[in-house]
């Protein structure tokens, strides 16, 4: 039995929590002890299976986002989250170190969590990274740009990289660890569980042999049936912050299709406007594994759920609100499997987008073609293999018995 700490430091929403809980569940079945060191704790409410895990607040900058308006690279994101001030980074690393020193994990699973990697490095604790292409940058120096609508400015990229590296090295030095030659070296861990495919990678295809496929966790939630009747089956999962929420509701009301919508925190007025006829509102997250097999279109923000639905051959009408989602939306569009609506779109553009995605069969064909390309991909098999690989890493370090040793044990 080993002790495994999941560290989630940056980003938001439910994807990190759901994915970590899925993997942790597999590790727990192998007898490992789990701790969640999470950026946001509210989401624990949707993972009751984590009831027995130790839970801690991940360190986070009190000045997050200040001074960085348009991040172009992973280094820019770091600078906006405590890395622009060496003293602040030293303090954040100190917070991680206290958690790791006290809880004593054999392995840290870092999900978009660069500072936990620094702390683990100062303590000699093994790490793996676990996340989609956006959460783990390619190992280039300087770290490459992810921003695509403008030509990356090499001077800016190099400067950001150098500033972040200087802070990282100040923190490593403050805790007696060896300095890094390149910022990219921070992401060198025992294993990079890069959970995407080359076609979906936010950075484009990178020189790596280890694509593990997207993180899909569709086996949790409420079972719900599609409304009876005619029309396409459309699943809507958006947040109330969506600028065109009212325009979308109007479009859905006017459509002849069957709709299941999960919109957390939707006010009574809008609920009343949307529900009725062939439109059903879910009050809790929907269990998607079987449900998506009958789905003709997903309407969402282009988070990990969009790529997950793609693996089921479901095309998307996407409303990206973060840049990471925007990159995913562009990827899916390039595959001919989605259309996306920019945050400043008008109601007429929302209606047009919806019309195109429901009327043009090429999107569904594009989505199905991609799913067929990876027909053997299975979310549960992916998790099983990651669990096995983690077991091998732990056995290498003597943290647990190797599978061979386990087999030699006499039966009791």
């Amino acid at each position: 039995m080993a002790r495994i700490a999941f560290a989630w430091e940056l980003g938001g929403e439910y994807g990190h929590v759901m994915s970590c809980a899925g993997l942790a569940g597999g590790l727990e079945l192998h007898g490992h002890r789990i701790a969640f060191m999470f950026r946001e704790l509210r989401q624990l409410a949707v993972i009751p299976e984590a009831r027995n895990y130790d839970v801690f607040q991940a360190p986070r900058s009190a000045r997050e986002g200040q001074g960085i308006t348009m991040p172009a690279s992973y280094a820019d994101i770091m600078l906006g989250c405590g890395y622009s001030d060496p003293a602040e980074l030293i303090a954040l690393v100190g917070g991680w170190r206290a958690l790791l020193e006290r809880w004593k994990p054999d392995l840290v699973v870092a999900d978009f969590s660069p500072t936990s990697l620094i702390a683990a490095r100062t303590l000699g604790i093994d790490c793996v990274t676990y996340g989609n292409g956006f959460f783990v940058p390619p190992r280039a120096s300087p770290l490459p740009a992810f921003r695509v609508e403008t030509q990356p400015d090499p001077v800016h990229l190099a400067r950001s990289d150098a500033r972040a590296l200087a802070s990282v090295n100040a923190a490593l030095g403050a805790y007696g660890a060896q300095r890094l030659a390149r910022l990219a070296d921070l992401f060198e861990t025992r294993e990079d569980f890069l959970c995407t495919f080359p076609e979906l990678d936010h950075y484009g295809t990178r020189e790596t042999s280890g694509y593990w496929g997207p993180r899909v966790r569709f086996d949790r939630g409420t079972d719900i049936a599609w409304p009876h009747g005619e029309g396409k089956r459309i699943f809507v999962y958006v947040k109330t912050e969506l600028p065109q929420l009212d325009a979308l509701i109007d479009v859905l009301r006017a459509s002849p299709h069957r709709i299941v919508a999960f919109i957390p925190g939707l006010d009574e007025g809008r609920r009343a406007r949307l529900a009725g006829g062939r439109r059903v509102l879910a009050d809790r997250p929907v269990k998607l594994d079987r449900f998506l097999r009958g789905c003709d279109l997903i309407v969402c923000h282009a988070g990990e759920i969009a790529t997950g639905a793609l693996m089921y051959g479901v095309p998307g009408l996407l409303f990206p609100v973060h840049y990471e989602q925007y990159l995913t939306a562009r990827r899916l569009q390039q595959l001919g499997a989605a259309g996306w609506i920019p945050p400043a779109a008008t109601p007429a553009e929302v209606a047009l987008g919806f019309q195109q995605l429901t009327a043009d069969s090429r999107y569904a064909a594009g989505a199905r073609a991609f799913a067929k390309r990876y027909a053997a991909f299975s979310p549960s098999e992916q998790r099983r293999r990651i669990v096995i690989r983690i077991g091998e890493l732990l056995a290498d370090r003597g943290a647990i018995l190797s599978p061979a040793q386990t087999r030699q044990e006499p039966k009791r």
Binding site: L44, A45, P59, R60, A62, I90, A91, G94, Y175
Partner: protein, 392 residues
């Protein structure tokens, strides 16, 4: 030897962190173990060299529809995320994890209400320290924050009920066997409460049954500056550069002061230089206020409880520009004692130059400040009081 975890969650700037770190250091010198759980870890960075230990305090999600003018302390907690039961439950899970990990004998809370609730559920003893605002007088319902405005008691009861319902929901999710708070007042009370201020500058003071130990920070700590001319009047100013009136305040000050020294932490060293002259010096860092106040004719500030107390200890009258409620309440105390003048946060059209000139001309302010009872007060050590409580 006992173990004390110092927690700070709410309230901006460095006052809470500085006080906690000062008391913790003194407690450590008495042979006890200390660690910190702060909302902002940055102030702790200097402790990395001495193997200090600290954790991130759990982060609540603030209300999306906060009350702009909270009626009582319960309403402040609702604004800060206590109305969101799943979010509060998440924070309580993390406090539970931290208490099990670090095993404190005592929580020392400096405006850390979810830590206080977590400690209550975990059976960890609590000491509350602070300058008054974070340990409000309690009642059922929790009393108004602005006692000069008529408020329906029913409105206060409704706020308390909303808070209590959410808190109980969160407690049920995390620790169903523990006894949840019975009333809103339970959320604010600790086994030991030490007010690190004086009755005369306590925003809710004077309180009859409170334990005032006085400020715990060292007035000689901070960068050193000194008066360099004989020009009068001398004005010491402690200002926040993010105040929208910052430049206007400096202009007014420049026109009335013989010599001025301005501590404006956060202004940036380049800006500090460009704003300065020989008799008007802006500093980008916190200054040791004790020696400067000793030679000042007026203290201009935002009416934080710490600086107001220090000015009155030095017998220096005050010109006050509060930015928020706590500062306004502290300012009212100084004004009612006759030792200060104040412009309320909502009065944005005030003529700062005339206001400052008039304040400098008033002998009555000077006399009242010189006669302040704070001039002879000596703080007692909060750390010693905490250490004594370990024996109980």
């Amino acid at each position: 030897m006992a173990r004390a975890l110092f927690a700070w969650e709410l309230g901006g700037d460095l006052g809470h962190a500085r006080r906690s770190m000062q008391v913790a250091r003194a407690l450590r010198d008495l042979g006890h173990e200390v660690a910190f759980a702060f909302a902002d870890l940055t102030p702790l960075a200097p402790l990395s060299g001495e193997r200090g230990e600290w954790f991130q305090a759990p982060v609540l999600v603030p209300s999306r529809t906060p009350s702009r003018s909270p009626l009582n302390a319960s309403a402040i907690l609702l604004n800060r995320g206590f109305g969101d039961a799943p979010g509060l439950a998440g924070a309580l899970r993390a406090w539970k994890g931290l208490f099990a990990l670090w095993k404190p004998d005592l929580l020392v809370s400096d405006y850390a209400p979810s830590a206080m609730l977590g400690a209550r559920l975990a059976g960890v003893r609590r000491t509350a320290i602070g300058s008054g605002f974070s340990t409000p007088p309690v009642g059922e319902p929790m009393p108004v924050l602005r006692n000069w405005i008529a408020t329906e008691e029913g409105a206060l009861r409704k706020i308390d009920a909303t808070l209590l319902a959410s808190v109980r929901d969160a407690c049920e999710r995390v620790e169903p066997r523990a006894k949840p708070p019975a009333c809103a007042a339970d959320l604010f009370q600790a086994e030991q409460e030490l007010l690190c201020t004086w009755p005369e500058v306590d925003c809710f003071g004077p309180r009859t049954s409170a334990d005032y130990v006085g400020p715990q920070d060292d007035p000689a700590s901070g960068a050193h500056a000194e008066w360099s001319t004989e020009a009068r009047p001398r004005v010491f100013a402690y200002l926040k550069p993010r105040d929208p009136r910052f430049m206007a305040i400096l202009d007014a000050l420049r026109s009335v002061a013989g010599e001025a020294i301005i501590a404006a932490p956060g202004v940036g060293s380049e800006a500090a230089v460009s704003l300065s002259s020989a008799s008007f010096r802006v500093h980008a860092e916190a200054l040791a206020v004790g020696p400067l106040l000793a030679g000042a004719d007026l203290c201009l500030c935002h009416s934080g409880p710490g600086i107001v107390g220090r000015a009155l200890e030095a017998g220096v009258p005050l010109a006050l520009l509060p930015q928020q409620l706590e500062q306004f309440l502290v300012g009212r105390r100084a004004v009612s004692a006759g030792a200060g003048v104040m412009i309320a946060p909502e009065d944005t059209a005030a003529d700062l130059r005339t206001w400052l000139a008039q304040a400098l001309a008033r002998d009555d302010l000077r006399s009242a400040a010189a006669a302040s009872p704070l001039r002879v007060r000596v703080p007692s050590s909060a750390a010693q009081r905490i250490a004594q409580s370990f024996g109980n």
